[in-house]
């Protein structure tokens, strides 16, 4: 069969009232890949996922999954999803939830395999409400895999989990990736996208602002936050190449830049007495600011 792309959004614009969630978005999910849709809160990631799940109607543009409408019955049976929801009912056990979800699909994965795939062996008798946050997410992951899906949507699978738990879940997702299925993952952790994805699409304010292999994206969003006590003013550093944003916080000057070495050299030139200098990796927010700035005023990347 000729399915060059497993799922696709073409020219999709989506509004909630006057708020634009997605604007002119083209998104392509290729067979066998793990695609990470990366973006900060409110970027439109979840909207994009729900358009592909058929749980939101397409307003402008086109959404297809397996070449069909996203909510076609044949599509539902070949697709699994892990959504940003607070969970399934607390009073049923893990085994009961899996039993029920398996029943929805024509050729479900054996329950024991699901437990193994999600790393929740031995928990099948426990009520969902008694599980830890990480265990709950693993159960939700298992539920997404019940139907032996060819395409899996993971909407912020590790949101709200602490680092260790998050890394544990990555292991399961990575194992799943290795089985050759197609996965669409949304996240606002660059690290997560980097760890799991073959390809990253960066969404910001409803637009696709970058797309490419994780290494490419990472390098383009490698902003650093430079912080020190100095006489140099905010305005003075604004013109330094690579500077995205600068501000004063208390007695500290805080500058966001994609070229920290150049900035520091410049600062020492102007004020040899500067002290209390720290350079830290910026958060994704800042990274996006960097990307946005790039997309607003094209500028060569170092």
């Amino acid at each position: 069969m000729s399915e060059p792309d497993i799922a696709r959004l073409s020219g999709v614009t989506h509004r909630y009232g006057s708020v634009v969630a997605l604007e002119e978005v083209d998104l392509e999910v290729r067979r066998g890949e793990v695609l990470a849709v990366l973006g900060p809160n409110g970027a439109g990631k979840t909207t994009a996922i729900h358009l592909l799940l058929g749980s939101l109607p397409v307003q402008i543009g086109r959404a297809t999954v397996f070449g069909q409408r996203p909510d076609a019955p044949g599509v539902r049976a070949r697709r699994g999803a892990m959504l940003q929801i607070s969970g399934v009912p607390d009073t049923l056990t893990v085994g009961e939830h899996i039993d029920l979800f398996r029943a929805y699909y024509p050729a479900p994965v054996p329950a024991s395999d699901l437990l193994a795939m999600a790393g929740i062996e031995g928990l099948e008798g426990r009520r969902f409400g008694k599980l830890s946050g990480g265990q709950k997410q693993r159960v939700m992951f298992a539920l997404a895999l019940c139907g032996d899906p060819q395409l899996v949507f993971l909407d912020e699978p590790t949101a709200g989990l602490d680092v260790e738990v998050r890394r544990g879940l990555w292991e399961e997702i990575r194992r799943h990736r290795d089985s050759g299925r197609t996965t669409v993952l949304t996240t606002h952790y660059l690290e997560e996208a980097d760890a799991l994805a073959d390809r990253i699409v960066v969404l910001h304010r409803g637009r696709v602002i970058a797309e490419g292999a994780p290494s490419t994206i990472k390098s383009r969003t490698a902003a650093r936050r430079v912080r020190c006590v100095t006489r140099v003013t905010v305005d003075a550093v604004a013109s330094v190449p690579g500077v995205v944003r600068s501000e004063t916080r208390g007695q500290h000057l805080e500058v966001l830049t994609s070229r920290p070495e150049a900035l520091i050299r410049d600062l020492f030139d102007r004020d040899p007495d500067l002290h209390d200098l720290t350079v830290v990796g910026a958060g994704l927010e800042e990274a996006f600011l960097a990307l946005t700035r790039e997309s607003d005023e094209p500028e060569p990347v170092a």
Binding site: D99, R102, A103, P108, P110, A111
Partner: protein
Amino acid sequence: MNAGNRSGARSLWILAVAAGGFIGALATLPVPESSAAPGQEVPESRFAVVDVTLFDGGAFQRNQDVWIEDGRVRALGPRLRLPEDLPRVDGRGHTLLPGLIDGHVHTFGGTLNDALRFGVTSVLDQFTDPALLPGAKSARDDIARTGEADLFSAGMLATAPGGHGTQFGMAVEPLTEPASAAAWVRARKDEGSDWIKIISEDGAAYGGELQFPALDRETIGALIAAAHAEEMLAVVHVTGIERALEAVSQGADGLVHVWIDEVIAEEDARRVAEAGVFVVPTLSVIASMFGDSTGLRVLDETDEELVSPMQWGTLGDRSYLRTGTEDEAALENVRRLHEAGVRIVAGTDAPNPGTGAGISMHSELRLLARAGLASDAVLAAATSGAAEAFRIPERGRVAEGHLADLVLVRGDVESDVSRTTDIVTIWKDGYAIARESAATASAPVIAAAPDGPIVADFEDGIDAGFGSGWQVTTDAMNGGTSTAGLAVEAGALVVRGETKAGFPFPWAGAIWFTGPQPMQAADFSGRTTLRFRTRGDGRPYTVMLFGAGAAGTVPPTVPFTAGPEWAVVEIPLKSFATADPTIIAGLAFVTQAPLGAFAFELDDVEIR
């Protein structure tokens, strides 16, 4: 195959077991015992009906308890404090009525038993054999177990010679002048009549040429005055509006039919109301005359075992049937009279053709409802209204001290009067009535035939020496115009007359009532043959055999010819197409077609 399948199957199993358990548990819930053994273990004489919807003769009241002691109502009300040991009848979902009172019947044969088995605990008879009256009086004053309704009666009726009422084969003492009214009324009082019934009928209301001799206005007035002088009620049979209004102006207390010829004007209806005259419309008999099937519908709804042969016979009899007219005038008259405030009393005129004793009371209630009476008015007409109109004591209401004549009906009668047929229990004087024995109930009315010869030889006049005599029978009783006369000449019965157009199936001739009362059957088992000598004008004649169903369905017939010479005719009884031709109430020797004058003689008529 896998866990999903197993849990799916398991949930279906659990569902099936739960549903089964639910239904099984419902089936174990307690049910009233009275529904298990109807009629058998019903408490009697001393008991209470509890938590019942009561129609006390005036209005419906819910959740009432009624305490019966020694054949009378001892107490009633909601939530009575009742003795612990008092047997109780669960009245929930039921309606308790006073025993019904039929305001217009004719008593003979098994009619009192038939009436009681259908909840009619008292009947107001408008013409019967006065010989029945003394027995009726003592029976109704006695609170003992009985199988018969209480009988109140006018006894003999007042009519003109050859007038309406003379054609039924019962002895009638006709009147010709006002002067004889007082003596006539006193004679009735002495016989035991409870009121005076006067015929004011010339047949005009039925249309056509039919004319009866009728009492004149003065005689009717004198009869009414005489009745009032004896402190008796005077009720008048009318079928036409003119005579109805005249009777009202002459002081009649009640009219025992509603008229069918014309709808009453509203001011006339008000006049009737102001005069305090009650009306017994007898819609049942009128309806059957006009082909209305209400009576037959009630018959259809009734368990066959409850219907006696006589009820089957009279109710199923369509010989009265007229077509081309409607009973709407009668219904409209009832509606207007009721609206004007005239007291309506339910009465059937059973067991005339198209009606059955007792059973037709239930069609009468439906017809009254159709005429526009509300449920409480309909039932009052059949209970308290009838008792008050005819001054019948201790009956017609469920009240302290009244007789425990009660009818327990399943369901809510207030919302649907037709439910009165669904009778659960009837109590008469506190005793439960066995309703099922309809077949045996009619058995006592069949008299045993004597062992000796049964023969009418006319050597000593018209009296046959057996049975209750020979009478003229013609279609006049069904509205026809044929005539006949009887005479004994030279030791033989001579029958002369003329069959005329008028009734669809004209007939005329003579009938031999073979039972102790007219139309009461006698048992001739062991006899096989009807044998008689006859001669006549050569016309075709017919013998009709009337069985226990008396005025029943079309009777079986066997033809014979009366030629110029005396000849012996022998008819095997089994050639009469009926179930038991040895149960004979009457043998009619009649001619039918062709129309015209006829004459024939009979002698030595013998059942052997």
